[in-house]
């Protein structure tokens, strides 16, 4: 790929590479894609994501797009709320959540990466930024997942979400009085719940072999 031989923005990339851990090649490719999506502009808006046809069939489309504009994913401590447009830096930051962990990490670093990825998932579920996933939010998630099937819809989705919530409560709280109320899934409970899920090995995208031909859509 001849384009990679001349990366005009290389000095900027150094900073980004350090923050996100991508290589220069990968940053170059993603920058190209960013430019494509934003029509050569500097920032990306929500509407720009509508130009991706395949994304339209995705049941959790809106959550994914929201995740890009959610300040909590920008690795700034204690930032909350959403923004209307993002620059390339933020785009890259969000993407970096999907980078596969290097094999040479020790357990502690693996734990950090795992927590990061789980946090991303958590933020996607916790839409009102209150730090817990309430029953309503969880129901919404399940409804979205089932939204394309139409037929059985709401009641079953409710049932499934309730069952799932009950499970979380059972695992995290163990013993509760009948009049106690389980507020919602906090991040620790979420962590505990998905302990066996191996998020660090599953939540990854191969950024290596992307070729420019597929980018031209």
């Amino acid at each position: 790929m001849g384009a990679l031989n001349s990366l005009p923005d290389e000095p900027q990339y150094v900073g980004l590479a350090e923050k996100t851990g991508f290589s220069f090649e990968q940053i170059g490719i993603l920058h190209k894609r960013f430019k494509q999506l934003s029509n050569n502009g500097e920032t990306l808006r929500r509407e720009d994501f509508n130009t991706i046809p395949d994304l339209l069939c995705n049941p959790i489309r809106s959550e994914i797009i929201e995740a890009f504009f959610d300040r909590r994913n920008f690795r700034q401590t204690d930032a909350v709320g959403t923004v209307h447009e993002i620059g390339f830096g933020e785009f890259l930051l969000v993407m970096s959540h999907f980078r596969p962990p290097s094999i040479r990490l020790d357990d502690e670093q693996k734990e950090v990466i795992r927590t990061e990825k789980l946090r991303f998932l958590f933020n996607m579920h916790d839409t009102d930024n209150d730090g817990t996933i309430t029953l309503e939010e969880y129901r919404h998630v399940v409804e979205e997942l089932l939204s394309r099937s139409g037929a059985l819809g709401k009641e079953t989705a409710k049932g499934i979400a309730d069952a799932a919530m009950l499970e979380v409560a059972s695992i995290s709280m163990g013993h509760m009085e009948p009049d106690e109320f389980y507020e919602g899934i906090t991040f620790e409970h979420f962590n505990k719940l998905l302990k066996e899920f191996e998020v660090e090995s599953r939540m990854n995208i191969r950024f290596m072999n992307m070729d420019t031909t597929t980018l031209c859509k």
């Binding site: 994304l55 489309r61 596969p100 998630v141 049932g159 069952a163 106690e180």
Partner: protein, 738 residues
């Protein structure tokens, strides 16, 4: 093809034995019967716990075979050629492979397909050439009087290809017992299944070439082509038969009894067709089982599913046992030609080739994998490369004329098989413990994991689309959508074709929980899965005016008593059961299919809504566990409640007749009685619960005249509810379970 049509040579040898006397015939029969009886007795090994934890079952079976063979020989009889290759390839091998293919975990298999193919194809090729080539070199280095000098290259290579294939039967037998993590299991097992195509082609090629004498480059290229045809052709044949089977199962709703038959017949036909056209039968069988399973399972009744599962397990168990026993017998009986050099060199070379092959391939593979294979993984993969009966049978099929060293080959093959099964098979378990290799997850698949698996799939597909990158997930998603849109409509009958995976999973779980609950005697024994006291109440948001706490009429002590007794029985399974009551269970909902169940459920929901319209009351107070306990347990509480019902005005929805006028008239009665009464509104999920919805006879206000001495009735009610009487429950359970 090789396996089905033994060479003429052997039949001539058998012709000499044709005029058997009657007594010899009888003796033959007796021996056959003895060996089958013995083989059916030997699963009794499990009764000797210490033994089976040290020695894997395959070793024990081979030992038994040795004993049987020894006994027969001592008796002076001629051992019948029980490990007849025809018998092996036609009868003994297919059930095991079908069992493996039908229950193949598709997701990990597909995720690791590249790795598996690399090991199966490149690994086997490497092993074959390495072992064959070096053996030839060693043979050439022998001093003059040795037989080995006569051994040419091509027979050596042929021998190499026979002895280098990892055997699925042996791998299954050993790996079943060590409970290793899913990734390693699927890697070794997948490799053992897929290397059949390679073995077939190599065997065939070398066999042909050794008669021709010379090999040209064109031949090599043709060999590669042949391999592609054999492998892909086998898979296609299997897939076609799988689709046929799925399509057939769509129409079997009126002939449920023979549903399992279709599965078995189509699979076996796939195997035979592939073998007939000289394609890979094993791959055809795997493809058939894997392709038909999702569709067939959606179509067939629950009972047929159980039948298929247990028949497959039974047949594969029996086959495996027989294979190992016969291997033992054939060892004792076979005419061996022991050559120290040849045999020891073979064993060593096999080990070395395997280790080098695995390490080298992993180095290359790790460049393409996200989750890399560690050294521990590599060791287990290398160590798990067991040889088995397939190698032996292939060797047995060799032509005696063309391969004068056949007996030596067989001896060597048997030695390798014994070495791998005994030494490697026995030591792999302690090694796994020693190296602290990750074991299989014991935890049940929870609904949260399922939700998140799906969520993650969609998320990753979405991110890939945003990147503009047509990766793994993109194509998987496309395939799923294609499957849903077109294929499922054709192959799955009725409503099920539109059921999304999450719901299917949820229903399966509900069913399982329901069955467990019923079998455990109506909830008396606590299912140990998640011992917690969290119930639906705890997660439901409370309605803003917490009126319920202001109205307890039952003395606090009584409340606690009841709560304590019944809390233990209130588990999360409670809301799983809500769509079941005694009547639907007896009527066997499994036969009626899900659509009926869902219809019933929706009817119940409507009824609930009607009820809620009549009652402007909040739901039950703290002793609702009582009622839900009644709803839960299959039986006695409900009937006891009925006895009380004439004196105590309860809202009783008897689901035997969901729309019966009786239930509605009760409601009318209560509507009048309830002007001042306030029952706490049930938490939302209960709305959907179709179980017997018993509103408790809460005497809230003091002036509920119609209730006539509620406290006395209440107490009677509570007393009878707090004494579940286990014996009564067991009795109630019997008729259903029998």
């Amino acid at each position: 093809y090789i396996r089905l049509y033994p060479k003429r040579q052997r039949s001539e040898a058998e012709n000499k034995d044709v005029p058997l006397s009657l007594s010899e015939e009888l003796q033959k029969q007796v021996l056959h019967n003895e060996s089958s009886v013995l083989s059916s007795v030997f699963p009794g090994f499990h009764l000797i716990p210490r033994l089976s934890s040290i020695v894997p079952e395959s070793c024990l079976l081979i030992t038994v075979g040795l004993l049987v063979g020894g006994l027969i020989k001592l008796a002076g009889e001629k051992v019948p050629p029980v490990l007849d290759s025809k018998l092996f390839f036609l009868c003994l091998l297919p059930p095991i492979i079908l069992d493996a293919g039908y229950f193949l975990p598709i997701r990990p298999f597909m995720e690791n397909l590249g790795t598996i193919l690399m090991f199966a194809v490149v690994g086997t090729l490497w092993n074959a050439f390495f072992v064959g080539g070096l053996l030839y070199a060693v043979c050439q280095m022998q001093s003059a009087p040795s037989d080995l000098l006569n051994l040419e290259l091509l027979p050596c290579l042929l021998f190499g290809s026979v002895v280098s294939a990892v055997d699925p039967v042996a791998v299954l037998a050993v790996f079943e017992e060590i409970h290793i993590n899913e990734l390693l299991h699927i890697l070794v097992f997948g490799e053992s299944l897929l290397n059949d195509a390679v073995t077939v082609v190599l065997y065939h090629l070398f066999d042909e070439y050794s008669s021709v004498g010379t090999v040209t480059v064109v031949d090599a290229v043709l060999g590669v082509l042949c391999f592609l045809v054999v492998a892909v052709g086998g898979v296609l044949v299997g897939a076609i038969y799988g689709i046929l089977a799925a399509f057939t199962s769509r129409f079997t709703s009126h002939t449920r009894v023979i549903e399992p038959l279709f599965v078995f017949v189509y699979s076996y036909m796939a195997y035979l067709s592939a073998e007939m056209f000289h394609l890979s039968g094993i791959m055809a069988l795997i493809a058939c089982g894997a392709v038909m399973r999702p569709y067939v399972e959606a179509n067939i009744s629950h009972k047929s599913h159980t039948t298929i599962k247990y028949f497959l397990k039974m047949w594969s168990s029996v086959s495996e046992t027989l294979i190992f026993i016969f291997l033992g017998v054939a060892t004792v009986d076979g005419d061996h030609s022991w050559n120290w050099t040849f045999v020891t060199v073979t064993v060593i070379l096999c080990l070395v080739a395997r280790i080098i092959g695995v390490v080298g391939l992993t180095f290359i593979i790790n460049k393409f994998r996200i989750v890399k294979l560690t050294t521990k993984d590599q060791f287990i993969i290398a160590y798990g490369g067991l040889r088995g009966a397939i190698a032996f049978s292939l060797g047995y099929l060799l032509d005696n004329d063309r391969y004068p060293m056949r007996r030596m080959f067989l001896t060597a093959i048997i030695t390798v098989v014994f070495f791998t099964v005994f030494v490697q098979g026995m030591t792999i378990k302690p090694l796994v413990e020693l190296l602290a290799v990750k074991k299989k997850q014991e935890a049940k698949r929870s609904i949260n994991e399922e939700i998140h698996t799906q969520f993650l799939d969609h998320l990753l597909t979405g991110i890939e689309d945003i990147c503009g990158h047509y990766g793994h997930h993109h194509w998987k998603d496309k395939l799923n959508r294609f499957n849903k849109k077109y294929i499922k409509k054709c192959l799955i009958a009725g409503e099920r074709s539109r059921e999304p995976q999450l719901i299917a999973f949820y229903h399966k779980m509900e069913m399982k929980q329901a069955i467990e609950l019923v079998e455990s005697g109506g909830g008396v024994k606590l299912p140990p899965s998640v011992p917690s006291t969290v119930s639906m109440q705890n997660i439901q948001p409370k309605k803003p005016p917490p009126v319920e706490r202001a109205l307890p009429q039952i003395p606090k002590g009584r409340e606690d008593e009841i709560r304590k007794i019944l809390r233990g029985n209130l588990q999360k399974t409670r809301q799983r059961l809500r769509s079941y009551n005694r009547h639907t269970l007896v009527a066997d909902p499994f036969e009626d299919g899900w659509s009926d169940l869902l219809l019933k459920k929706s009817k119940m929901i409507e009824l609930e809504k009607k009820m809620n319209n009549y009652l402007t009351v909040p739901a039950a107070p703290p002793d609702s566990p009582t009622i839900t306990r009644a709803r839960l347990s299959s039986d006695p509480q409900t009937y006891q409640m009925k006895q009380m019902s004439d004196s105590v005005p309860t809202i009783q929805v008897d689901l035997a007749s969901p729309q019966s006028p009786d239930s509605l008239s009760l409601l009318d009665e209560l509507q009048r009685a309830d002007q001042r009464r306030e029952l706490r509104r049930r938490p939302p999920p209960d709305e959907e619960e179709g179980g017997l919805m018993m509103r408790p006879p809460q005497a809230r206000g003091g002036d509920q005249g119609e209730e006539g001495g509620p406290s006395a009735k209440e107490q009677r009610l509570q007393r009878c509810l707090s004494d579940p009487g286990p014996s009564a429950e067991d009795d109630e359970d019997e008729p259903f379970l029998s």
